[in-house]
């Protein structure tokens, strides 16, 4: 079925909105904020696609999903066909439909967005993925071509999962090594339940297992076995490193080691990964003051401050040294945070954390900032306003000012080029300085998005395939020449 509406008629349809929990309700629970589009709304939204001859949305997508193609299948009510169309390019649609910054990628270039609002591509992606899950319609692809080569994937976050899935589909024997006790990396320890339910992640990971991918948890590459041991003793033919950027940065201000100061990583790991919200039913504790402050302006900061609110913080401040427009967080997340009563202290920079007699946080001292000349990132650099210091009473401080790669693998792998920032150096097709070692995601980028990690994992998989084919071809020609 083609879209019966003329382009002018399609443009008249307003962009459809997800059904959401009210802010009042959702700050009392950890359930997902958005329920997504229902079938009726999805069908209306799908009709808005102009079916451009030159679909720039595909170019906007880091993994090049055939966006008009899957939307057309929605119009035909072939939702499973639609999700499978997405899956050709992206094996984790239910995840991307939720956490991808579509507004900066596919939707920003959507022609409809020039005059009207762009097609809600992300919400449509989520709709078909959820439809398939809810109706249990997923069928594991049948792998007919088996290749007798073993690939080790280190880390089970978005980069690793994608790389593993792509290689498994090609017929490789893939083993994922995960340091933590459960899979998903940042998707599990970082992103909260209210944005990405663990059940969705479990289902997606399970589908990757069904492709024949083996997963070892509690395995720290570099400690339990080194990368070279995986290659030399375990018999892997190639390795993909997707260990992320798990080491938190701290500001370096006085008072950071007081009790009640957390890195966002620790805070979110305790709550999301160790389920501290259910203490004492679970054993991992967390402490939240009546007043809390999160420092930072990215998605992690939003996740942390909204989590703190749900854990009972009466006042939850978000302190960011630049202004609202420079905030790297997704617009949707900032909006959700605002609706939930998060108080934004923009152009504000913490200068010290103040403790009480028991070494607990009791306040944070900040200064106001103003925007000066643009810095190397192109954003206007915040400069302190003299004499603008003020003290904010808080009992919990969470620093969400960025992460860097965990150094264990770099330190235990000779010959692997590492940048000054600690990221593993790769070329444009994810090759490292070692011929059979590939890398991607935050480990090479130093802190980016889920979809860019998936893009890297996918490109690496194609490159690993090329590499292993060339190794095989060389072997064969060597045999022939004998």
């Amino acid at each position: 079925m083609t879209n019966p509406l003329k382009p002018s008629e399609r443009m008249k349809i307003p962009r459809q909105h997800s059904i959401e929990q009210t802010a009042e309700d959702r700050i009392k629970n950890f359930f997902e904020v958005s329920f997504g589009l229902n079938e009726e709304l999805a069908l209306i939204e799908a009709k808005r696609c102009l079916e451009c001859k030159n679909p720039v949305c595909i170019e906007g997508c880091p993994v090049r999903i055939d966006i008009p193609g899957f939307i057309k299948l929605i119009l035909e009510k072939d939702y499973v066909g639609a999700v499978n169309k997405i899956r050709e390019a992206n094996y984790l649609p239910a995840i991307c439909g939720r956490v991808c910054p579509q507004e900066d990628q596919c939707e920003i270039v959507c022609l409809l967005g020039k005059k009207h609002e762009p097609v809600a591509i992300g919400k449509l992606e989520r709709f078909v993925a959820d439809y398939e899950m809810a109706n249990n319609l997923f069928e594991t692809p049948v792998i007919t071509n088996h290749i007798d080569k073993k690939v080790a994937v280190v880390g089970s976050g978005p980069a690793g999962l994608t790389c593993a899935a792509e290689l498994a589909k090609m017929g490789y024997k893939v083993t994922i090594f995960e340091a933590l006790h459960s899979t998903g990396g940042v998707l599990r320890y970082g992103i909260p339940e209210f944005r990405l339910p663990k059940k969705i992640l479990d289902i997606e990971v399970d589908r990757i297992k069904k492709l024949g991918v083996e997963i070892y948890t509690n395995f720290v590459v570099g400690r339990t076995a080194t990368l070279d041991e995986l290659l030399d003793e375990w018999g892997f033919d190639a390795v993909f490193l997707g260990t992320g950027a798990g080491t938190p940065n701290f500001m370096g201000i006085p008072g950071e080691n007081l009790s009640g100061v957390y890195s966002a990583n620790e805070f979110l790991t305790r709550v999301n990964f160790m389920r501290a919200y259910a203490f004492p039913e679970t054993d991992t504790p967390i402490k939240i003051g009546k007043q809390i402050a999160v420092i930072g302006g990215g998605n992690t900061a939003m996740d942390a401050v909204r989590t703190a609110k749900r854990l009972g913080a009466e006042k939850a401040y978000l302190i960011y040294r630049r202004s609202r427009t420079e905030m790297p967080a997704r617009v949707e997340e900032v909006m959700h945070a605002e609706e939930e009563g998060i108080e934004f202290l923009m152009l504000t920079n913490p200068i010290r954390i103040i403790g009480d007699d028991f070494n607990w946080v009791k306040a944070i001292e900040c200064q106001k900032m103003e925007l000066g000349e643009p810095d190397e990132s192109g954003r206007r650099k915040p400069v302190p306003v003299q004499g603008s210091e003020f003290i904010l009473e808080v009992q919990t401080v969470i620093e969400a000012i960025g992460q860097k790669p965990n150094p264990i693998i770099q330190a235990t792998t000779p010959g692997l080029d590492v940048s000054k920032k600690g990221t593993v150096v790769v070329d444009d097709v994810q090759r490292t300085s070692r011929p059979n070692v590939f890398a991607g995601g935050d480990l090479t980028r130093g802190g980016a998005t889920v979809i860019l990690a998936m893009r890297d994992g996918k490109i690496a998989a194609e490159e690993i395939h090329k590499y292993l084919q060339s190794v095989e071809a060389k072997k064969e020609s060597a045999t022939v020449n004998k």
Binding site: A179, L180, H181, Y189, T217, N218, F219, V220, R223, T224, A225, G246, T247, P248, F250, G252, E256, N257, S259, G260, Y262, S263, N265, E266, T269, R270, M274, R275, A278, F279, P280, E281, T282, D283, T284, P285, K287, F358, N359, N406, P407, I408
Partner: protein
């Protein structure tokens, strides 16, 4: 799942568990630790590896039952399993031939200093051991330490066994006796490590301690284990757990380790109630 293949009660509250973990047994070096999670609702806790047998593929840990998780762990029996067991983590102890090294274990810390003393002995050092505890029945690994130490001193706070006093008193006496000490390893409760550091500081004897801050992942991800060493922030899990004792801010560590004291108490009380109920059923 990791199987407990042997269990031995070293005192009322200290238990030795031998756990099947062949990969860790093969790689583990003195000074390494593991992170353990007992069951699905459990927390992740770090425990130093006391010993390992690469042939049998087993790792030995020695646990003092102080809170819910350690009590639960100590209640497990031969044939039971722990859900998660990951390692070997942390930087291993740099083993050199220093000459004469004093290895001090306080309480369950003896389990942590024992593998270091053993490795130092194998590296050719003259190893003097000091093992201390509050009271006689909390002294552990005496025979094991005696077997590897050139000299061994025992202290108890109450004088019920060995010398009455603290391990640091014995250390001071050794220094006073005029023997040349090239390095000291002191592992035990934080106040003990702090006092030992203070004893050796005036003599500029290289002194190392193994720190036990609060940890979650144990791989450098959470930063919960941050300690101040030489005025700089260090993560005990990846930068340590051993540090130069003269540089460590022990007071800060003591404070940070108290962060969850009240919640730990709630958890412990609930566990005790649960155990009482179970025993009532029996």
């Amino acid at each position: 799942m990791y199987k407990i293949v042997e269990k031995q009660q070293l005192s009322d509250i200290i238990t030795k568990l031998v756990i099947e973990a062949p990969l860790i047994a093969k790689k583990r070096k003195a000074g390494n630790f593991v992170i353990i999670r007992v069951d699905e609702n459990g927390e992740r806790i770090p425990i130093t590896i006391a010993d390992s047998d690469p042939q049998k593929g087993t790792v030995t840990i020695i646990v003092q039952a102080v809170g819910k998780t350690t009590k639960l762990l100590c209640s497990l029996n031969k044939g039971d399993y722990v859900l998660d067991f990951v390692g070997p983590l942390g930087e291993p102890t740099p083993i050199h031939n220093y000459g004469t090294v004093v290895c001090i274990g306080g309480g369950v810390g003896t389990a942590e200093v024992y593998p270091i003393a053993k490795a130092l002995k194998e590296a050719g050092n003259n190893v003097i051991g000091i093992v201390g505890a509050r009271t006689k029945n909390l002294i552990i690994l005496e025979d094991e330490m005696r077997a590897i130490c050139n000299e061994l001193y025992i202290t108890t706070d109450d004088g019920s066994y060995g010398r009455k006093g603290f391990v640091s008193d014995q250390l001071q006496d050794l220094i006073n006796s005029g023997i040349k000490i090239d390095a000291v390893y002191a592992i035990g409760p934080i106040p003990m490590m702090k006092v030992c550091a203070n004893v050796t500081r005036p003599y500029k004897i290289k002194t190392y301690v193994s720190l036990n801050p609060i940890m979650v992942d144990g791989t450098g991800m959470c930063g919960g284990c941050r300690v101040t060493v030489g005025g700089k922030m260090k993560f005990a899990c990846v930068d340590g757990p051993e540090f130069d004792a003269h540089e460590v801010d022990f007071d800060e560590l003591i404070m940070r380790n108290r962060t969850y004291v009240d919640l730990e108490k709630i958890s412990d009380e609930l566990y005790e109630k649960h155990v009482c109920k179970l025993e009532g059923v029996k």
